[in-house]
């Protein structure tokens, strides 16, 4: 009994530490900082209310991510007509002064991601931001691994096309692959 209480307290602590990551994931999914706050709060509240049902802390991260995914999906269903991605400013507004390379890249990438379908965004962000394995993503979102792979592949294809003109601006930038496992 005492053990159970310890685990629960431990889980609460882990949840608290997870909150910045949940917030980042929510933001990457929905594209709106204040909505991301709301979704994170909602997910954390649900998680804290049910934390006693969680037996082992190892499952905690995936469990919290799937709660967040459900909150995000609920939100999408509620707001079918409105554009969930509110933070995509008009490119014509970007003045020359604002064109610091890095900022521009971040802006471009976020805008491109906002054009992906919510399904693709969910998968892409879990893989890229949280470094989840495909099987973990499958479990979190409740879809088969094959679907994870095809959604991811389509998400990246689309993203590449959306970013194509932007990447031409930085011909010198090359990615590195130096570490081999």
């Amino acid at each position: 009994m005492f053990n159970g209480w310890l685990t629960e307290r431990n889980n609460r602590q882990l949840l608290a530490q997870l909150s910045p990551r949940l917030k980042r994931l929510a933001f990457a999914w929905c594209g709106d900082a204040s909505l991301a706050d709301d979704l994170t709060q909602e997910a954390l509240a649900k998680a804290l209310a049910n934390v006693h049902s969680l037996k082992q802390e190892k499952a905690l991260e995936g469990w919290a991510f799937s709660i967040l995914a459900n909150c995000f999906r609920d939100h999408c269903r509620r707001n079918r007509q409105t554009d969930e991605f509110m933070e995509c400013p008009d490119p014509s507004h970007t003045s020359a002064a604002e064109q610091i390379d890095q900022q521009q890249t971040v802006h471009d990438v976020r805008q491109a991601i906002s054009r992906l379908s919510p399904n693709q965004r969910e998968v892409l962000m879990l893989v890229d931001l949280e470094a989840c394995s495909y099987s973990e993503v499958a479990e979190i979102l409740g879809i088969p691994v094959g679907t994870v792979m095809s959604r991811l592949s389509r998400a990246r294809q689309n993203l590449r096309q959306l970013l194509e003109p932007a990447s031409c601006r930085y011909p010198g930038v090359r990615p590195f692959i130096e570490r081999v496992k």
């Binding site: 608290a16 394995s133 496992k181």
Partner: protein, 239 residues
């Protein structure tokens, strides 16, 4: 797109580190021979990096705060270690559980990037249940820890066990349990971590109740944990 041998899915799996070591090598070798293939890999890798960079962690939780209701509302603003904290969370909780006053905690508060570099960080990986492998692993771990202690260099050393390697951390099955206890007591910078995915699978398959040694923490996935460590510049040794 003119390398029909590899599908986009496969190349994605490579970039996301989902391939086994031998598959990785085969694909790497093919990429060396094919410019179109290596370009496709590079493009995907680049895309992945850009996506990651577009969403840096904005805040980190106040460390050491015990009541969650306080800690998750009181964010610190984006700090230099913001990115690091994301990946360090699992490890640091491990430290907190074991040794509330581990030297790392003291280093953390004042750590600059220069100090960060002088600290050795290495993750050992075991995935076999051969007794010799477990012994060899602990020999090497002890050697490295001793060497650092002698020269006074700070070190963080983590041992990740998955697949059959989990046996090493299983209560009642481990042939090296007492040695793990000794090492754990002697070196505060040492962490043993068991793969939660493996644990779950083994429990399902065998139906037995598997208990992990009290010295070890349980992580979600051994492989993705190691990958994150490597991305942060940790050295990696597979025994």
């Amino acid at each position: 797109m003119n390398n029909p041998l590899y599908s986009d899915e496969q190349i994605n799996a490579f970039v996301d580190d989902e391939l086994a070591q031998n598959e990785r090598l085969v694909l790497l070798k093919a990429a060396v021979d094919s410019e179109s293939l290596s370009t496709r890999i590079m493009e995907l890798q680049y895309l992945k990096e850009r996506t990651r960079e577009a969403f840096p962690l904005q805040s980190k939780p106040a460390s050491g705060v015990l009541t969650p209701s306080v800690s998750w509302t009181r964010y610190m603003t984006a700090a230099a270690m913001g990115g690091l904290s994301l990946f360090a969370i699992l490890a640091s909780t491990g430290h907190l559980q074991k040794t509330p006053v581990a030297p790392q905690t003291a280093i953390n508060t004042t750590r600059s990037s220069a100090e960060q570099q002088t600290q050795t960080r290495v993750v050992f990986h075991i995935s076999s249940d051969r007794q010799e492998d477990a012994s060899l692993l602990l020999d090497q771990v002890e050697l490295v820890l001793q060497e650092h202690q002698r020269s006074g260099r700070p070190i963080r050393l983590e041992v990740v066990a998955n697949n059959q390697g989990l046996r090493m951390l299983q209560q009642g099955q481990s042939t090296v349990a007492s040695r793990i206890r000794q090492l754990d007591a002697a070196y505060p910078g040492l962490v043993f971590a068991a793969c939660g995915n493996t644990l779950e699978r083994m429990t399902k398959e065998t139906g037995e109740k598997i208990t992990i040694l009290p010295e070890a923490i349980i992580i979600r996935s051994g492989v993705s944990y190691i990958t994150r460590r490597q991305q942060l510049g940790w050295s990696y040794i597979k025994v």
